[in-house]
């Protein structure tokens, strides 16, 4: 599946789409080259296209791997070390594989008051994982998230680029069942 993306929104894409189209080489197919060219064309210098290109790597692979960093560095004439420095500065670039479903549970103020911590614990228990680490079958990773902007519907849970609202520890099983049913999309 290839989505055509207008250059104006190239850096405003959702910051993770887990492991849907894993690839070794980012900029060797038409889509990759196209995204690179569009991102570079938006800024006065090449270096500024670094953030959108890291986002693109994550969008494609679900995480920003050291290999991706090297490819981005090469494409933008930067050192891999510099790309690593930027990628590690931002917490929303995943530096580890995220599994098929990246489950982010909001534990910020509103959700916390409505039991976000319990929902988080319930997800960990249901998937048998520890925070931030991928389950053995590669299906899930569960992590805490800062405010997801859905305070009216606490607790909010984001799975890849999809929102689940009013989640309670009791409905965690339901959410997982729906993920199972829908596959990755």
């Amino acid at each position: 599946m290839t989505r055509k993306i207008h250059p104006a929104v190239v850096s405003a894409q959702p910051f993770q789409v887990a492991n849907l189209r894993p690839t070794d080489r980012l900029f060797e197919d038409e889509e990759g080259r196209d995204r690179l060219e569009k991102a570079i064309s938006r800024y006065p210098d090449k270096r500024a296209a670094l953030l959108p290109m890291l986002a693109y790597a994550q969008e494609r692979n679900g995480w920003v791997s050291p290999e991706s960093m090297q490819q981005v560095a090469e494409a933008l004439d930067l050192t891999p070390a510099y790309v690593n420095s930027v990628a590690t500065f931002y917490t929303m670039y995943n530096k580890h594989p995220t599994g098929r479903h990246m489950i982010q549970v909001c534990t910020c103020v509103a959700c916390h008051l409505c039991g976000g911590e319990e929902v988080f614990e319930a997800f960990l228990e249901a998937t048998g994982t520890v925070p931030g680490a991928m389950s053995e079958d590669g299906k899930y990773v569960v992590m805490e998230a800062e405010c997801l902007g859905a305070c009216g519907f606490a607790t909010a849970v984001q799975v890849n680029d999809r929102y689940f609202e009013n989640v309670t520890p009791e409905t965690v099983g339901e959410v997982l069942a729906r993920l199972e049913q829908d596959g990755g999309e």
Binding site: P66, P80, A81, N84, S85
Partner: protein, 524 residues
């Protein structure tokens, strides 16, 4: 008042500084050293991120970082006001939150800016009760270790690599309290000048692996030296413990090397004196070389050398001017018409952010000095005709076999190391090596620079000029003696027009120019 000069008051002292000077430098001129971490006078970028150099400036509502605040006319600065001290105490408290306080095993202890300022401004105990964050340690380069827990993220190392070395492969990874210095995972820092990141580190976060746990700062003896690695003549500080060089650091000299030096130079002196050293004079008696005392050796040579008979000679561009001058006298007395020297060469390495400093092609410190005293470069060691006199001084004859010089009538070898090529020598005189004697070099640029003895030579080895002076006075008792290195320099300068007006004392630690620099040729 010139518009290029501004005057300001720092802690009640009025100073005049050139326009554009940062307050921290103006304060230094007024005698107030403002504590700082991220500011380094040799690194152009100033992020003002350590917040240690905050000072109070009258009329400004908040404290200002003095490293980036430019001195203005009439400014009134207080570096020691209660507000400034309080701010500094807070910075120290923050820096020490996760600091392991492992000073007893830290190589920087005693030379650590965090330790110094914590003693000066900090509190006796911390108010922080949480467990400390442990980040561990890492290898940054083949020979450099990084202790992340000790690091205060001043980014001097990152900015040295970026601004001066032009290499963007050392970075700050992560952020906030988890931040650390790193290269790309799996890669190491590879740059001929990378060792300087250890020198700019204000704490013990970056250390040379070959110095780790070797010596405490207060156990080392220190002498000012000149790097003998190439013809640049970098000013260095030689740290010695128990008569062994444990560390070489650059010593500031704006005209030559600024604050920097290359890694090859750092290793050079540490390695130079290893190997089988000559420590006693030897003269040939039949088939064997017999160890003798200096007086015996000198008297024997004076009596048996074929003075004035001619021959061939080779010297080494690593010898000091004083020794080369004495050698010229000795060669003259032996009747040898001129000598050669061999120069080892390597690739030139530049330092983009400080173009004055390069690792030069000539990998010996005193090629210009050898030229100055009439020696000329040759490719091969001279081969004496049968019965001729052969003099080898300093050249280690690494490419000569054990039969080298066997046909010579009289073979004098002056050197630091026993070598196969000296096996046939008639007489072997042990010389003090690099770092073991006082003297001067002329660098590629015609600058005459003094270096000082940092350790004792092995056995009874002595500086070349001292040995030769003693020998020549045995032959010609009327010669004026070179009683010390200053006298040796004096005799040399008196006989050398290019050194006119220079004296040992006058050279000081910053060196002096040769008169008529154009005459010092051949140096690269």
């Amino acid at each position: 008042m010139s518009e290029h000069v501004v005057s300001l008051t720092v802690d009640g002292v009025e100073v005049k500084v050139p326009a554009g000077t940062p307050v921290i430098q103006a304060a230094e001129r007024a005698g107030s050293v403002v504590p700082h971490y991220c500011y380094h006078p040799g690194i152009p970028s100033r992020p003002a991120q350590c917040r240690m150099c905050l000072v109070e400036i009258e009329g400004q509502p908040k404290l200002q970082p003095s490293c980036v605040m430019i001195a203005q006319e009439g400014m009134i600065v207080h570096t020691q006001s209660e507000q400034a001290l309080e701010a500094r105490r807070s910075v120290i408290e923050f820096l020490l939150l996760n600091h392991p306080l492992d000073c007893p095993i830290c190589d920087a202890a005693g030379q650590c800016m965090l330790q110094d300022y914590a003693y000066e401004t900090g509190q006796l105990s911390s108010r922080y009760e949480e467990p400390k964050l442990v980040l561990g340690r890492d290898r940054i380069a083949e020979d450099i270790l990084y202790f992340a827990d000790r690091c205060i993220i001043c980014t001097r190392c990152v900015r040295f690599m970026e601004d001066i070395a032009g290499d963007n492969s050392l970075v700050v990874a992560q952020r906030g309290h988890k931040a650390y210095i790193d290269t790309f995972p799996g890669q190491e820092l590879e740059h001929a000048f990378r060792g300087n990141i250890v020198d700019v580190c204000p704490v013990g976060a970056l250390v040379h692996e070959d110095f780790v746990f070797k010596a405490r700062a207060w156990d080392m003896d220190t002498a000012p030296g000149i790097c003998a690695g190439c013809s640049q003549g970098c000013n260095i500080e030689v740290n010695v413990k128990e008569n062994q060089v444990v560390r070489v650091k650059p010593r500031y000299n704006a005209d030559v090397n600024g604050y920097w030096m290359c890694d090859e130079g750092r290793r050079h002196l540490v390695m130079a004196n290893r190997g089988l050293r000559l420590d006693v004079p030897m003269i040939r008696r039949g088939d064997v070389l017999e160890a003798v005392t200096w007086s015996e050796a000198i008297e024997w040579i004076a009596a048996s050398a074929p003075w004035g008979a001619g021959g061939v000679a080779v010297v080494h561009p690593g010898e000091s001017n004083e020794t080369l001058f004495a050698l010229r006298e000795l060669i003259g007395a032996l009747g040898i018409a001129g000598g050669g020297y061999r120069m080892s060469r390597g690739e030139e390495v530049e330092l983009p952010g400080f173009p004055r400093l390069k690792l030069r092609q000539d990998r010996a410190p005193n090629g210009a000095g050898a030229e100055l005293f009439g020696f000329s470069e040759t490719d091969a060691v001279p081969v004496p005709e049968a019965g001729q006199t052969l003099l080898v001084a300093g050249d280690r004859l690494l490419d000569a076999g054990s039969d080298y010089g066997a046909q010579a009538g009289f073979y004098v070898y002056l050197g630091t190391h026993m070598t196969e090529g000296a096996s046939s020598a008639t007489v072997i005189l042990p010389l003090a090596g690099a770092g073991e004697a006082d003297g001067t070099y002329v660098n590629f640029d015609g600058l005459v620079q003094r270096f000082h003895q940092a350790m004792q030579p092995p056995g009874v080895a002595r500086p070349g000029w001292m040995v030769i002076d003693r020998l020549l006075r045995e032959v010609e008792p009327d010669r004026p003696p070179m009683r010390d290195v200053a006298a040796a320099f004096g005799s040399m300068a008196a006989a050398t027009p290019e050194l006119e007006g220079l004296s040992w004392r006058g050279l000081g630690l910053k060196g002096g120019r040769t008169a008529g620099r154009a005459t010092v040729t051949g140096a690269r």
